[in-house]
């Protein structure tokens, strides 16, 4: 399986690591070659410098044979445009887009794009944690399970 990750930030480099360990062939695209420093040097990933809204850059990263495209830069609109190129032009099966603006995420979800909003997810986690700690009836569950993931 081949995965292309757009954006070599903290999320992108972490995702590259996880997918590589899962046995994926991974390519990472970033406009700033400096960002590739975040990639784990022990894993073998293809790095492509350029903007992922450019079809030639996507082809260089192997979009024509890709099974997965994940757009995780911090620019919502670039993520949206690149993801739509991956989905509609190159028919990539799994296309996921990170979007900070939850409303924009919902609108694109309604027109068939799979969007993930860290804003909503993190707010929910914080909210649930606050509510749990405010209710002394069930104190033991949350803190221990959180520690194990570290």
């Amino acid at each position: 399986m081949r995965a292309i990750i757009m954006g070599s930030g903290r999320v992108g480099s972490r995702l590259a690591h996880l997918l590589y360990q899962q046995g994926y062939e991974v390519a990472v695209i970033d406009e700033q070659p400096n960002s590739f420093r975040r990639l784990d040097p022990t894993i073998d990933v293809l790095t492509v410098t350029g903007t992922a809204i450019d079809e030639d850059v996507l082809k260089e990263a192997g979009i024509e044979e890709a099974d997965v495209f994940a757009a995780v830069t911090n620019r919502d609109n670039s993520n949206l445009m690149a993801a739509q190129i991956a989905k509609h032009r190159f028919n990539v099966g799994t296309v996921l887009v990170r979007i900070y603006d939850p409303v924009r995420g919902e609108i694109y979800q309604s027109i068939g794009l799979q969007t993930i909003s860290p804003t909503t997810i993190i707010a929910d986690i914080f909210f649930n944690e606050i509510i749990k700690q405010a209710q002394p009836a069930s104190p033991a569950i949350a803190p221990t399970s959180q520690k194990e993931t570290r």
């Binding site: 809204i53 924009r104 609108i107």
Partner: protein
């Protein structure tokens, strides 16, 4: 008619100014509050500060009753998203998108934007019209039907020279619309005879442009 302009750079500024002067109802959305303040001084309250890709901004701008949204920022991805949200969420009938990188024009059209404006290609086409050796000029592409308006010049070597229109085997889906002869406009009919120097305006399917070109230039066009 209510028009929303996204992006207050030079194009957005002059477009808004022109529309205001024509008495149109127009609203310009610009991110930079300094620009917004300057523009407000010049045209009054037709400028709002905000991100035209954000639903909240578009909502406040009354996008739901807008007839046209024009996105003219310097970033193609921002223009695309503003147009798509206007279309998908607010049912804006006509979305017009400025294309900065000519490579993006095709995909932006394919992703549902009604009209794309690519200054680079427009200028290239205009330059080509003035290359004297060219006997066939592409004037305009009509996007919905994949049709093009082209202009052919009849020269001494043109296969059509001296023939009447009904005798020429034009490619299918081609209409000879008009002929400009010595600066006079002639409406083409089946009995019109081609003369040297005629400028022939035709509507043709884009795939047939090459075949049509051969009829005017006599050259075989190699399809790449």
């Amino acid at each position: 008619m209510y028009i929303i302009v996204v992006g207050g750079g030079k194009i957005g500024y002059y477009l808004t100014k022109t529309l205001v002067n024509e008495g149109r109802e127009v609203l310009l959305i610009e991110k930079d509050s300094k620009k917004v303040a300057t523009y407000e001084e010049r045209f009054g309250s037709v400028v709002v500060q905000g991100d035209g890709c954000e639903a909240a901004t578009l909502e406040a701008a009354g996008a739901a009753r807008a007839d046209v949204l024009v996105a003219v920022t310097g970033d193609d991805e921002d223009n695309l998203v503003a147009c798509q949200i206007a279309k998908a969420h607010y049912n804006v009938r006509r979305t017009i998108c400025r294309v900065n990188n000519p490579k993006n024009e095709r995909i932006i059209k394919d992703l549902g934007v009604d009209v794309t404006v690519d200054a680079t290609n427009l200028m290239k086409d205009l330059i080509e019209q003035y290359i004297p050796e060219r006997h066939m000029v592409h004037l305009l592409t009509m996007r919905h039907a994949d049709l093009a308006i082209v202009e052919g010049r009849v020269t001494a070597g043109s296969p059509v020279l001296g023939k009447v229109i009904s005798d020429v085997r034009f490619p299918a889906r081609t209409v000879i619309s008009a002929i400009v002869r010595q600066s006079q406009l002639l409406v083409a009919s089946g009995s019109t005879r081609f003369e040297e120097g005629d400028e022939v305006i035709a509507i043709s399917h884009r795939e047939q442009e090459g075949e049509l070109q051969t009829l005017f230039t006599g050259e075989q066009i190699v399809q790449i």
